[in-house]
Subunit: 351 residues, 2 copies
Amino acid sequence: MQQRKPTIHDVAREAFVSRATASRVINNGRGVSEQVRSRVNQVIADLGYIPNPAAQTLASGRANVIELVVVAYDADVARFGVHPYFSRIVAGMVSALYGTDTRMRVHVACETDAAELLERVAQTSSLGAVLVNVPALLAAQFHERRPRAVSIGATAPRVPAVEAENVQGARAAVGYLHSLGRRGIAAIHGPASNTCAASRRIGHLDAIHELGLPDLAADGDFHREGGYRAAAQLMRLHPHIDAFFVACDLMATGAIQAITASGRRVPEDVSVVSFDDSVIAACSNPPMTSMRLPVEEMAAAAARALIDGSVPPCWRRIFPVELVVRESAGPAPAVPWQARRPLSRAGGPSR
Amino acid sequence: MQQRKPTIHDVAREAFVSRATASRVINNGRGVSEQVRSRVNQVIADLGYIPNPAAQTLASGRANVIELVVVAYDADVARFGVHPYFSRIVAGMVSALYGTDTRMRVHVACETDAAELLERVAQTSSLGAVLVNVPALLAAQFHERRPRAVSIGATAPRVPAVEAENVQGARAAVGYLHSLGRRGIAAIHGPASNTCAASRRIGHLDAIHELGLPDLAADGDFHREGGYRAAAQLMRLHPHIDAFFVACDLMATGAIQAITASGRRVPEDVSVVSFDDSVIAACSNPPMTSMRLPVEEMAAAAARALIDGSVPPCWRRIFPVELVVRESAGPAPAVPWQARRPLSRAGGPSR
DNA sequence: TTGTACGCGTTATCAG
DNA sequence: CTGATAACGCGTACAA
């Protein structure tokens, strides 16, 4: 029973109409009598007809596909799977696409291939592209050719983007640690090349200047190993450290392990506040206090913007970063911290 | 400079050949003189010509796309992003596809939509489909219509699949705990409906029967919360518990939190061995001893099978599950555990 | 080795 | 409101 798939031609014949009319019914087009429409729909159901996507794309010039283009941090593309950041993006897009007939196509490149990949993707006729970790220059070039693109995270000015309040989030994290009475607050930053990491770096500097704290910091790699190394090194250099602000969950797990290995307790001796609030934060022991980056929502917003219509240049959607208190830093503050509020002021919620 | 994209027609004209010849060059077809071939390739480079995938698909009937079809555990499709299992599959496929011009298209449904989604996917012309968590009946129906399908994990007999030695892995985990001197070994199983969880359940039963251990067990949901609840409940009912075998990493993190909350220490008072060895295992505190499920390799193998050629019915590829010793269970055994070896025998590596 | 001619399944433009 | 008919861009028997 390997009979060939029914085509629009079969539908038209069985329903005694032309292919044009059948096409109108399929696409909910205007100007078809109710009688004909229902007859055609009946035939479609009987035959189990499903339009050929390739033919639709070819004829109409548009495809029901969103391209997800990721440039991996490392040379090794497989590490794509290790960092929860990426899976949260996939999840966010999936839920935005759920219920629609739009699908996501995944492309991953490392930095050396990125230009070539973007070139190819730019040629395809799709609903648009979601750019992740694409260098600003490449993103700008891509956007010039295909305006239907949204970057996740900061990028070139004209390229549409969803962003998070990384600076404010980092400030709030340090402020929170300060409010707990911590004064030896060290930072473990992300890679220098990463834009999100750069913003968190700025927020951290802001805060320590404002609070008159020393700048104890080391760089990590956004992975557990780097977090472990950085924490161990910082504690060796500065034994009085009593808190860490860590630029991502994964590094924070490494930091917690290093703290524990040094004989200190979390949070009694050393407080830890991380950034991301991925699934790993809740799974840590003790569960991590973390600045929540709403990655799923950001990715979903990017996908929806692409589905809903054209995205103007310079389009921005900014997402707040919020403190999620668990156990790794200590007790909840009497007054909830707001990312936007000046650190030196106290007071109730600003909205 | 929004000139329209060059087509194969342009290439043919510029190279003074017919479209057929240009097509042959593009597809590395046989029977083109070296002279003509290089001339055409030169023109292709000059024009920046890239074939239109939709037209290629339409004309040839095959597409450079692999469908990833996932049925979510829960009603909420977004939890897709929470469990590392799925991101590891994506990562494995991505690395298998890296360097090829084949891409992955992602489809996620919950159980109620699964049939309809599979129906649609079956109609598309693609290289094939990777099925994840698709119920056996639906998988069988799908496979009947489109033989180019591979399931990740056990499924209907005729449907090609990559599988892991879940039974042996679970046996080995319990055996390992026993070898550490633990006798109050409790199990936290996965959902009853999940086939992988069922296999691990069997392996656990095998082991405790063989070792003469009591069957202390509870069911979880493959999430942290369920692991926490199950561990807490089991320890309340059986205070003498001194070890847990947990059917996945995520639940194990919950278990460790529950153990810690009860005032016990890991691994001094209670040993924990989990299943999966996802990124979470290494990030746990203490780092988890876990049975490594090579999910990335399995997914990559599935993708490669689809790329390389047709997959015969009943095709199977079995992957070993290996003990990865970290700190949550205790010290490494004098003799490394082998998943395949009978539990009662001692001895060296079997291969 | 190369070219001709047709078909892939659908959309879209015009007439009627 | 409906029906011819021409694209859409490419692959591929078949002929030369």
